[in-house]
Amino acid sequence: MTETPSNGLHFVRRELAEARKPPSQEIGPLAWARRNLFGSIFDTVLTVLALLALLWILPDLINWLFVNAIWHGTDRTFCATVAQGGIQPDGWSGACWAFVGDKFQFYMFGSYPVDERWRPTLVFAIFALTLAPLLIPKAPYKVANALAALIVMPVISFFLLHGGVFGLPVVETALWGGLLVTLIISYVGIAVSLPVGILLALGRRSQMSVIRLLCVAFIELIRGVPLITVLFLASFMLPLFLPPGTSVDKFLRAVIGVSMFASAYMAEVIRGGLQAIPKGQFEGADSLGLSYWQKMGLIIMPQAIKLVIPGIVNTFIGMFKDTSLVSIISMYDLLGIVRASFADANWVTAVTPLTGLIFAGFVFWLFCFSMSRYSNFIERHLDTGHKR
């Protein structure tokens, strides 16, 4: 194609030209700022406004939370101004972390007897030891591990916490409290809602009209009402439904309420996954001669659950947050116990409620945020490339 130039010389470059550096306006922090912060007039105005707002809020916030905060102290005088009968100068305001430090054990275990607190601590440890390998995808023996975490561990924990066997003194559930209760209720809720939710979702898609009707009625009724009414229902009506004289533990009633509520939501999430499975998968399983339960357990569910992992984890997160509602039916979960501690005459100051609430909010945030991060990780890990 190429014609020889008239002078007979060819010029062919044999090496790639070395890439030049981009112009200096295009690299470095200044260029970054120009691109990302001051891209247009509107962006510039937004950036300036946001910076002003941050400058207005952040120093006060940091001062309140850390600089002016009281870290050590034994009673309310440390966190009250002189006018309020304390030792701080008038006009002082800051977080009272000394209060949280003093109440820390109370926040973790509630009124659990001090001498027996090694038992909940041991339960926390077993909990962490069985759950951690379950959550790490590479750890072996998943089935045994799951059995241990979902069946063996709750039983052991119950006997450890409640006592009455092996010479352990009985600790009534009324004494349980704090983070312990929050974790137990959410753990039981999760362990119950997943299988029950699967059954309800299957029931809702069943060919048998009576079963379908029952499942739809249960799911829609529970999903249509606020959790607090379900809790009221469990705590006021359950005793009415049972034979006279039987008493159901208050703790158990709350757990039943939360589990019912979570199961209905879980059922809808799983139904979403079931609906996304192509019909050919069902027909393929049928043509292999698999029974209903084989078809669902071996072919459909593994695919469906994988599809809706984000939804399942969102339900878990929602439920973990919702456990705080049991404080309304006068149970002492983390939020309930933090609120109860405001009434301690030894610590009543203007700043203790806010400090306590910030602590409770932070603990909840820590758990929920880790769950959502873990869900992102596992979603990527399980993604076997079926997504288009």
Partner: protein, 398 residues
């Protein structure tokens, strides 16, 4: 019909199976069994309940709703006193629930839209701030946020004597927010009529404008005409009538504030917490909706020479809304249901009022039944509306 086809379509003799292996009989047996067990359980629970009620000497039935309530409610939208009936108290509660839900939905939509668009902003700072907002509020229980506003922020407001006085006679202190109450004089009904007439006229004008655009291609001004019709008409009538509106401003006394209208701290904290919390979820829905519209749509619109603003309004948003609206409604429903947390801080909503009645009368079954009936009907009404709306909005494909 030929002979062969008839043979093929003739029912084949089914393989003989024992009736207990026949799917039909099997499923029938399962269903009858389930129904029987459930019916047995219900009867057993019913008998237990009757026995329990008899032992506790409790009556049943909804007759008690007509008796005197005997408790006061702080904030009511309709006249109510402690002499009113339980039924009236429940009405007040329902209205309060609807009021906080309606206001919360408006605020949370605006806030959620802003944050959701902020998460997609090209501005790094705005994007990060929006992310911090979403990740912060999504992961904290609503109840903590409610208490945060109630105990932390609103309790920190000054007491009555040191009230913050704001322009237009508004007063803010730790008892609540006071503002001038509008008093409508003679003929105010005509202003309302003018508003309705304005809206009707605006709808008609929009339709005609659309018809004209379809027919001729030129579009008459719609937005400003409609603004004039909806806002201008009532204002005109208002002025013609001689401005029949006076205000009753709150007057700060030494220990109390008299006159004016007032919003209690309970309402404020519930309303703020609901708006802030739900906005985090709405922001994520808005983000997903806008990102769900393929980029080719924007590029195609630009290629046709449509300006960026109009591209957003006429091309992207209508398609994004189709993705956004269903999850958004379920968030609105969540907000309405979450307003039941009012009971924790004593705002007189449906659940709080019901709880008081339950404690006074011990009519657990009746009160819980009323709650379930009302909330389920709100949910059902919303989902019926949504189904209708979805059908209307559904993409008409080839």
């Amino acid at each position: 019909m030929t002979m062969e086809e008839a043979d093929l379509s003739a029912p084949r003799q089914p393989a003989r199976v024992a009736f207990y292996n026949d799917p039909f009989w099997r499923s029938l047996a399962y269903q009858v069994l389930t129904a029987a067990i459930l019916a047995g359980l219900l009867v057993w629970m019913w008998l237990n309940t009757l026995e329990n009620l008899k032992r506790a000497n409790l009556a049943s039935g909804f007759g008690f709703l007509q008796s005197r309530a005997g408790f006061d409610l702080a904030q009511t939208l309709i006249p109510y006193s402690s002499d009113s009936s339980y039924f009236r108290a429940l009405e007040v509660g329902l209205l309060n629930t609807l009021a906080v839900a309606a206001l919360g939905i408006v605020t949370t939509t605006i806030l959620g839209l802003l944050v959701g668009v902020g998460r997609l902003s090209s501005n790094w700072l705005i994007r990060k701030l929006a992310t911090v907002y979403v990740e912060g509020f999504r992961n904290i229980p609503l109840l903590v946020i409610i208490f945060f506003w109630y105990k932390g922020v609103l309790n920190a407001l000054p007491n009555v004597r040191e009230s913050i006085v704001m322009p237009f006679g508004m007063i803010l202190n730790n008892r609540g927010f006071y503002f001038p109450a509008p008093l409508f004089g003679e003929g105010s009904i005509f202003i309302l009529a003018a508003l309705v007439a304005g809206i009707v006229a605006a709808v008609i004008w929009s339709r005609r404008a659309k018809a004209q655009q379809m027919a001729t291609g030129s579009r008459p001004p719609v937005f400003w005409v409609n603004v004039a019709l909806v806002l201008g008409l009532p204002v005109l009538v208002f002025l013609v009538l001689g401005a029949p509106l006076t205000f009753d401003p709150p007057v700060a006394g030494k220990f109390n504030i008299s006159g004016g209208s007032f919003i209690g701290p309970e309402f404020m904290s519930l309303y703020l917490a609901l708006s802030f919390y739900t906005a985090a979820f709405i922001a994520e829905i808005v983000r997903a909706g806008i990102r769900g519209v393929p980029k080719g749509q924007t590029e195609a619109a630009y290629a046709l020479g449509i300006q960026p603003g109009r591209t957003m309004r006429l091309v992207i948003l209508p398609q994004a809304l189709r993705i956004i609206i269903p999850p958004m409604t379920s968030q609105y429903l969540n907000l309405t249901k979450n307003s039941s947390l009012a009971v924790a801080i004593g705002y007189a909503d449906l659940v709080a009022v019901g709880g008081t009645i339950l404690n006074q009368t011990g009519r657990a079954i009746e009160v819980v039944a009323i709650w379930l009936a009302i909330y389920v009907s709100i949910s059902l009404a919303t989902s019926l509306f949504m189904n209708w709306f979805n059908r209307k909005m559904a993409l008409v494909e080839r």
